[in-house]
């Protein structure tokens, strides 16, 4: 069974995607 702390690292990968989605939906407009 995979330990919880390893699953937590996978959440870290997901955070990268979340940041990228926030940027591409809204953040980039600040620089236009």
């Amino acid at each position: 069974m995979v330990s919880w702390d390893i699953w937590a690292a996978f959440v870290g990968y997901a955070i990268g995607f979340v940041l990228a989605i926030i940027f591409s939906l809204k953040w980039y407009k600040r620089f236009e």
């Binding site: 069974m1 995979v2 330990s3 702390d5 390893i6 690292a9 996978f10 870290g12 990968y13 955070i15 990268g16 995607f17 940041l19 990228a20 989605i21 926030i22 940027f23 591409s24 953040w27 980039y28 600040r30 620089f31 236009e32």
Partner: protein, 480 residues
């Protein structure tokens, strides 16, 4: 003995790169074309270029070796530095850097610092640090590339080294940034595909992720869960939040070349997708090697062993192409930056060259520097790993503060930038010297340097003369 299939695959791969280089040469007319692709590179090519510049053969060989040593906790290594760091680089540094470098007419990171702070000293300091950092990075990269090729298919180290250097030099010197970016886009797709295939087959061989965890735990519980083995070696990566990448001029140069701020919108998604999936795949595949080969004499051989044993004969040729793609794509980016340091940052201070001669000189300098690095890589200088670690820390410790504050804060002053650079430099050298230039001190040296680099400019700027309104209006003027 190298198989005919390996030779055929390599020849086909090199031919594609050379054709791209020749096509790119026709687009390269000015120095701006040569160094930043005329600032006309599309968002998706920029994303793939960023990904391949970031990932060298280290991810397939040394990185996979770390996975063999640490087991599943290796998945933590790339989270702050690569995954979140990439997203934040595109969010915080990319768009303003693109806008400001165009206003300033800057084609290199050192030129951006010089013009942003209106300080020749700051520019020259950045040039020296960048060139030195890139020089030793290139030698380390070439050694890794030669060793990897020797391990995977048995091509002798020196043969592999010179073939790869010459092919990379031809398409980079001819095609400049266009050649670099387009070949990197092809190489990115190759790298991602190889990583995904290796991960799927490797996990399947041990019965999936849950079974892998159970088997690692049977060898040593620390290979599957907290507390981790040798955590001090993992910690610097987990603290970095991408700072080590932000201080890499070869990486942030990608942002100079993108064709506009709107192109960042999709670029960030593609970049994060490629870095996250590739690193996750390698980080999940490499612990499988620990289960299958618990007594491997050299951790770096983990991935080549997996490829040889789990795949049909001949796949190693494709794996080699993935490793070479990773190395050559980073090498081409480093060559461009080193050429910039000489031709864009130093030569104009001595004499002004016509555009065509400057482009020709850029090509000549690139060839000379690459040949010097390759010659040094044939008999590596002593303490190369230490020099590489120190120069990486220096790049981050010297550049991150001035680059970031220069983008966002009007009040930041040239003396504060100079002090931050000097303090970052002294901090890295002092920490390394205190630790006798040994691990783990060389790995931790960037941390106090980054803290000083970010803390000093706000304090010193308050007590020094503000930048002139003329300079600020030029830098921060709204563009239509």
């Amino acid at each position: 003995m190298v198989s005919p299939l390996t030779i055929m695959v390599l020849v086909a791969y090199f031919a594609i790169l050379l054709v791209i280089g020749i096509v790119a040469m026709r687009r390269t007319k000015t120095l701006e074309d040569f160094y930043v692709g005329g600032r006309q590179i599309s968002g998706w090519v920029t994303a793939l270029s960023f990904f391949t510049t970031y990932f060298s053969a280290v991810i397939f060989i040394g990185g996979a070796g770390m996975g063999w040593v640490w087991g599943l906790p290796i998945v933590w290594k790339d989270v702050p530095s690569v995954i979140i760091g990439t997203a934040l680089a595109f969010m915080i540094i990319g768009p303003p850097l693109r806008v400001m470098t165009e206003k300033l007419g800057a084609l290199s990171v050192a030129e951006y610092i010089e013009k942003r702070y209106d300080s020749k000293l700051a520019g020259l300091t950045a040039t020296v640090i960048i060139f030195t950092g890139m020089f030793f990075y290139t030698i380390s990269l070439l050694i890794g590339m030669g060793v990897a090729t020797e391990i995977i298919v048995g091509i002798p180290y020196l043969t592999a080294l010179w073939i790869c250097v010459i092919v990379t030099l031809i398409y980079t010197a001819l095609g400049g940034y266009f050649g670099q970016a387009w070949t990197q886009a092809v190489q990115a797709i190759v790298m991602l595909l190889i990583a995904v295939i290796v991960a799927v087959v490797a996990l399947n061989a041990v019965g999936g992720l849950g079974a892998l965890s159970t088997k690692l735990e049977a060898i040593n519980p620390s290979l599957a869960r907290w507390p981790y083995l040798n955590f001090t070696a993992l910690l610097p990566f987990m603290l970095s939040l991408g700072f080590l990448g932000w201080g890499n001029p070869a990486l942030i140069l990608r942002f100079f070349s993108i064709k506009g701020t709107r192109a960042f919108r999709w670029s960030v998604l593609i970049a994060v997708f490629f870095v996250a999936i590739t690193s996750l795949c390698i980080n999940l595949a490499s612990p499988v090697a620990r289960v299958l080969y618990p007594n491997l004499p050299k951790p770096d051989a983990a991935m080549p062993h997996l490829v040889k044993d789990l795949f049909p004969p001949g796949f190693d040729a494709f794996f080699l192409v993935g490793v070479l793609a990773a190395s050559m794509s980073t090498l081409t980016a480093l060559l461009i930056v080193m050429s910039q340091c000489i031709v864009r940052d130093i030569v104009p201070k001595i004499r002004t060259l016509p555009e065509k001669r400057a482009v020709m000189l850029s090509r000549v300098v690139m060839v000379v520097v690459a040949l010097i690095c390759a010659t040094l890589a044939t008999s590596p200088p002593p303490m190369l790993v230490t020099i590489f670690a120190v120069t990486t820390a220096l790049l981050a410790g010297v550049l991150v503060g001035p680059v970031v504050y220069g983008l966002y804060w009007r009040r930041v002053t040239a003396p504060s930038c100079a002090c931050a650079m000097m303090a970052g430099f002294i901090a890295v050298i002092a920490v390394c010297a205190y630790g006798g230039f040994q691990f783990p001190w060389t790995y931790y040296a960037w941390i106090p340097a980054i803290i000083l680099s970010l803390a000093l400019p706000p304090i010193i700027s308050v007590f020094t003369k503000p930048p002139s309104e003329e300079l600020l209006s030029k830098i921060f003027a709204k563009t239509k």
